[in-house]
Amino acid sequence: MSILPQLAFVLILGAAGFILTKRIKFLRRNILLGKAETRNDQHENRWKTMLLVALGQQKMFKRIVPAFLHLLIYVGFLVINLEVLEFVLDGILGTHRLFAPFLGSLYTVAINVFEFLAVAVLVSCVAFLIRRNVMKVERFNKPELKGWPALDANTILVVEIILMFAILTMNATDQILASRGDEHYPALGTLFFSNLIRPLFEGMSDGALVFIERFAWWFHIVGILAFAVYVTYSKHLHIFLAFPNTWYSNLKPKGEIRNMPEVTNEVNMMLGIASENPSAPPAEIGRFGAKDVNDLSWINVLNAYSCTECGRCTSECPANLTGKKLSPRKIMMDVRDRAEEVGKSLDAGGPGFEDGKSLLGDYITKEEINACTTCNACVEACPVNIDPLSIILQLRRYVAMEESGTPAQWNSMFQNMETSFSPWKFSPSDRFNWSEKVKEEEMK
């Protein structure tokens, strides 16, 4: 037998590996465009969160129908990828169904399981396509999904359907050949699902069947490799990044906003309080708040790359629900798009962050961040613990402290607080006046 297919396979595998390595380096560098932040405490809690939320899909089940369909695809993805190991070894060694002789009847059971999952994935993907394109579920039809994001989502679903169909086709033709006594194809016993489509191929010649079987095999494995590369360009990265993303979840109470120690030093100086480290040199103070991706924490950028644009955040956002421009999903998409833009520019020897653009202004407007009620609905809704609120607040800090560009009414509130220590303009000496009425009543 010719060694050519083996050579071709190894070449394709090598090429995929090479491109993937390059892509992973690119993504890693982009994520690390964000500022350093250490979040390595509470290991036990972090592993638990990752197991429950990423592996266990805990938060997906707040919406039962999509959660169930998604679970089928997820389990299908995990389990069918076991078969890919055999595909790769067969490809390199020039064998066919390498594991069949070792596993015996167990192999048939395994293939039946794979086929069942392939059908489940197929059905789920069709259901998802219907939800997106026919039922037009609202969260999939928001303005930020127009164009590439919608195409990306549909592409993934269609490709998965074709890949699953390739498995079934391969098994069906393979077993027809086996039943005709071709010794290259081991008979596996009944394969329930591929049996159903066998009539499509029964009348064909051996040659045609071998061609279709080989075509389906190559299509499936090359398709998977191509898909792996495609994922790095797509919102579909969540299949990997959901794991580190949940590990690095914010485990503090959601209401707590991160303190800015660089401000504390100045406040202490103004109030004449000795700083805790008076001898320490003043920290390198960059910007207050965030104007661009490099002002955010790397975890914010990891969040952005982990987002699969499901829009559960946006569909729970009170601002978005009532027609404001803010969409937490768009915030995450903007951070990722900006990181990609800067990353590409840096790789091409371009200006990177110095391109005259910035996250705030060119991607996210003040109108959007000003609409946020900091209610944490988006944070609560995210199935992989992304925190859009953290980004919104850092942008607000930049606007307030670097640009003095907050809305006029907020500036009045600031003034009231500075002069009368309350957001409203009341005399501080009147703070206790409410007690008069209680005293009066209790005197009676």
Partner: protein
């Protein structure tokens, strides 16, 4: 507080009144109701009075970290000087800020929300309810405040307090972790909303009215304002009232 301290007394708990509790005409009634309950039960408490300032919550959330820390550091200095150990407040924003954000600036206290405090008083039998009084058997819905619920996972205490009144607690479509904001958080209380199709408090009020409740219970001064405005906007103020939990308990106790 100053008075007690000068007499060498140290109260069991500091009642953090907050700006709305001190100045808002409607919300002062909540402060008064809560204080009447504390007095009736005989809780040893103090307030800071003119020594209290805004916690800084709206400043921090509007992005002005300097102003927030100025307020926070000043408050922490005062509370530490009085050696405050335990704080109770009716405002979830003050609650969240003092509980979660003051520790990073040197203010470490046990902080509880008045819904939790009331629940404790009821459980301990210190607050004896008279079977709901005017609320008995009525349909009441509870609006979760973001800074109590999602921000700090307090969902049950306010509900337990309401249930103690022998009423029918009805839930809105979006409640607990899925509760919809009243629209005032994140310093929105202090500015007009951005342009949109609808105001958030109207959306939330419609949900509350859809339960058929005769009263909407809240545990936050901003929510109280927003829901009250919403009910007025829907011209239902004659048959649907908005109350704070403390007011409902005080009414039942006949004080």
């Amino acid at each position: 507080m100053a008075e007690m301290a000068s007499n060498g007394q140290s109260p069991e708990v500091l009642f953090w009144v907050g700006c709305a509790g001190s100045f808002d005409e409607r919300y002062k009634a909540v402060t008064q109701a809560f204080v009447k309950i504390l007095n009736k039960v005989g809780v040893s408490f103090a307030v800071l009075g003119p020594e209290e300032t805004c916690t800084g919550d709206p400043a921090r959330r509007a992005g002005n970290e300097f102003l927030f820390q100025m307020q926070a550091v000043a408050n922490i200095q005062v509370m530490n000087a009085y050696e405050v150990k335990k704080v109770v407040t009716a405002c979830p924003h003050c609650f969240n800020t003092i509980k979660n954000e003051y520790p990073a600036l040197g203010g470490n206290y046990e902080v509880i929300h008045h819904s939790q405090f009331l629940q404790q008083l009821i459980n301990e039998g210190k607050v004896r309810l008279q079977g709901g009084g005017e609320f008995k058997g009525k349909k009441i819905t509870f609006h979760d405040s973001c800074y109590l619920g999602r921000a700090n996972d307090v969902y049950e205490a306010p509900r337990e307090v309401i249930k103690a009144l022998d009423v029918e607690l009805v839930e809105m479509k979006r409640c607990k972790t899925k509760g919809l904001c009243c629209g005032a958080g994140g310093a929105q209380m202090f500015k007009e909303p951005e342009q949109g199709k609808k105001d958030i408090n109207i959306e939330r009020t419609e949900e509350a009215l859809a339960t058929g409740a005769q009263a909407i219970a809240v545990g936050c001064p901003f929510c109280l304002t927003m829901m009250t405005d919403g009910v007025k906007n829907k011209e239902r103020e004659a048959d649907v009232k908005v109350y704070d939990l403390a007011e409902m308990i005080a009414k039942d106790m006949g004080i």
